[in-house]
């Protein structure tokens, strides 16, 4: 009995006062995580792998890259270009505005309650996407929206001046509603990580506030800011519900194109549909990967 405990080196380290431990079979070791792997396999990995396989499966049998070549089709390119344009614009604008707001409530010297209101609201707004968000903007800037009507009173006909909520500009305005708060939430901790000592040291050496930001704060923050902007890019690139609700799914956008492809083969080429979907996964994977590298980099200074 005693020898059986002592022969296992692992057990002698952890056993306290001869307590009887459950038998440590290898299978028991894995038992706790098996449901997780099975579940993720069934509902996250297998569906993606099926798409990947179908995108490579030649109609004649065997594997082919033919469908990835077909991506250079006018419909597909215009959808991807619009997705990338909107994602870049909302990532950069959302990143800058979100950063300024985070600065205002942390370093900018606004009273303390402003900060907690901002974080709570950001939590809400960054999750307030999809149909309700689209509706809210229709009631504000749609053809009969409140702001549209208000501007009409002042003689400005918004929809006659070329503006439309159902356009690139409109969708950008709507997306910013969840992009800015996400930036605020992610970048606030980074701003908190700026040490007071650095600022004081810079000031004691005679640096102006501009020099402090240019040579100390911004270089430290750059990986976080860039990383979060990439996160915003992915966030907007994969967004489907808001655009669907706003435009009825008929706008040119990569996610909406996939939606149309699911309902009926609009591309008249099932294989191409799978390639379009896989293209999105690749773009998302690359952006998340860069994000994680930059995030690790920023942790060197900020944590």
């Amino acid at each position: 009995m005693k020898s059986s405990i002592n022969t296992d080196p692992k057990l002698t380290n952890t056993t306290v006062g001869g307590v009887k431990r459950p038998p440590q079979f290898q299978i028991g070791h894995w038992f706790g995580v098996i449901p997780f792997f099975v579940f993720s396999g069934l509902f996250l990995i297998a569906p993606t792998v099926v798409l990947a396989y179908r995108s490579l499966e030649s109609p004649a049998g065997g594997l082919t890259l033919e469908f990835y070549g077909d991506l250079l089709n006018e419909t597909v390119i215009s959808a991807y270009v619009m997705s990338i344009r909107i994602s870049l614009t909302t990532a950069i604008l959302g990143g800058i505005i979100g950063f300024l707001i985070a600065w205002a409530v942390s370093i900018g010297g606004l009273p303390r309650p402003f900060r907690s209101i901002t974080t709570t609201f950001s939590g809400v707004a960054s999750n307030f996407a999809g149909v309700p968000l689209a509706s809210a903007f229709v009631f504000t800037l749609g053809r009969v929206g409140a702001i549209t009507a208000l501007l009409k009173l002042f003689g400005v006909e918004l929809y006659k001046s070329g503006f439309s909520l159902y356009s690139f500009l409109g969708l950008t305005l709507v997306y910013l509603y969840f992009q800015i708060p996400l930036m605020v939430l992610v970048i606030l901790p980074a701003l908190d990580g700026l040490k007071r000592d650095w600022r004081e040291a810079a000031e004691n050496l005679g640096a102006t506030p501009y020099q402090y930001w240019r040579h100390v704060a911004l270089p430290v923050l750059t990986p976080s800011i860039l990383g979060t902007m990439i996160l915003l890019f992915g966030n907007s690139f994969g967004a489907h519900a808001t655009a669907y609700a706003l435009t009825g799914g008929l706008f040119t956008l990569a996610t909406l194109l996939i939606g149309q492809q699911i309902s009926g083969d609009v591309l008249h080429n099932p294989g191409l549909g799978y390639a379009v979907a896989m293209g999105m996964v690749i773009v998302m994977a690359v952006s998340i990967f860069i994000y994680s590298i930059l995030q690790r980099r920023s942790e060197r200074w900020l944590r």
């Binding site: 996250l44 505005i97 300024l100 809400v124 707004a125 149909v131 702001i147 969840f178 966030n235």
Partner: protein, 281 residues
């Protein structure tokens, strides 16, 4: 000599510092006010519309009509049930996994973390595309009936909650000494189920609650996956509503905003602002 120059510089510097602080505060206020306008106007406009359900009078007519709609309550309650089922399923999978990874299999942590992040990499529209192709024909026919599709939907929602659930639970586990608690429980003769249910779960209450509420906020109005799996839940219902009705969508948007607000507010309350509060779109 040095003394005097020092004091001189500090005399000059002090007001300069004050003025830069004032400038900061000025710009902080400007930025804050503009963003308040951007974020509040759509909400105010929607709220105003929602009060105009009856001609020429402000009132709650739109809300009454919404709740009287025969499709609203079934869709709403179905979404609530789906969300709660997904939360429990997710907890049932994530808590043992996070516990095991912390205690027994630390080498597996990067793999588990990577998998929990997959919902960020696979857009919902791509995921539902794959699910339909995989489960809508033999040998893995899963979408044959409405109810079987619903089970599939709940499972997918649980998987979508992994990033938030794993992170909250993992943070929660870091805050307590899992090893000491486990060994104490073992020395008192507890088995694994008892340890998880009566020692670990209660210690993770805050973390579990914030993970659960975040999942709720994301799942309750989810559109993309429910839409293509032909489910009559709140998301597709809301999308239909915006096309068929004039005032009800505004009431619906306000109700939905209130739900999100309630979920996030409770997270802030229970975690003291430390909760992780971002979802996907």
């Amino acid at each position: 000599m040095t003394l005097s120059s020092n004091s001189a510089s500090s005399v000059v510097k002090a007001p300069e510092k004050k003025s830069s602080l004032k400038a900061n505060q000025f710009w902080a206020r400007v930025i804050f006010s503009i963003s308040v306008l951007y974020f509040l106007i759509p909400l105010v406009a929607t709220f105003y519309w929602s009060l105009r359900g009856k001609k020429d009078v402000l009132g709650f007519e739109a809300y009454k009509k919404l709740f009287a709609d025969t499709n609203f309550l079934p869709a709403f309650s179905e979404s609530i049930v789906n969300a709660i089922a997904a939360i429990f399923l997710s907890l049932l999978i994530i808590v043992p996994t996070a516990y095991w990874v912390t205690l027994r299999l630390p080498k597996l942590r990067p793999v588990v973390e990577f998998i929990t992040l997959l919902p960020f990499v696979i857009p919902a529209i791509v995921l539902v595309f794959g699910l339909i192709r995989l489960y809508s024909r033999p040998p893995l026919l899963w979408t044959a009936t409405y109810d079987s599709s619903r089970v599939l939907l709940v499972c997918v929602y649980a998987a979508l909650s992994f990033p938030y659930m794993f992170r909250s639970v993992d943070n929660g586990l870091r805050a307590i000494d899992v090893r000491a608690l486990t060994e104490a429980a073992q020395s008192l003769g507890a088995n694994w189920v008892t340890i998880l249910l009566r020692v670990i779960f209660p210690n993770l209450r805050t973390a579990l609650l914030s993970g659960a509420l975040l999942t709720f906020a994301i799942v309750i109005g989810e559109l993309t996956i429910a839409l293509y799996m032909a489910q009559h839940t709140l998301g597709p219902y809301m999308a239909d509503l915006t096309r068929s009705k004039v005032y009800e969508p505004s009431a619906m948007a306000i109700v939905s905003f209130a739900i999100t607000w309630a979920a996030m507010g409770i997270i802030q309350l229970v975690t003291g602002g430390q909760g992780q509060t971002t979802g996907g779109h």
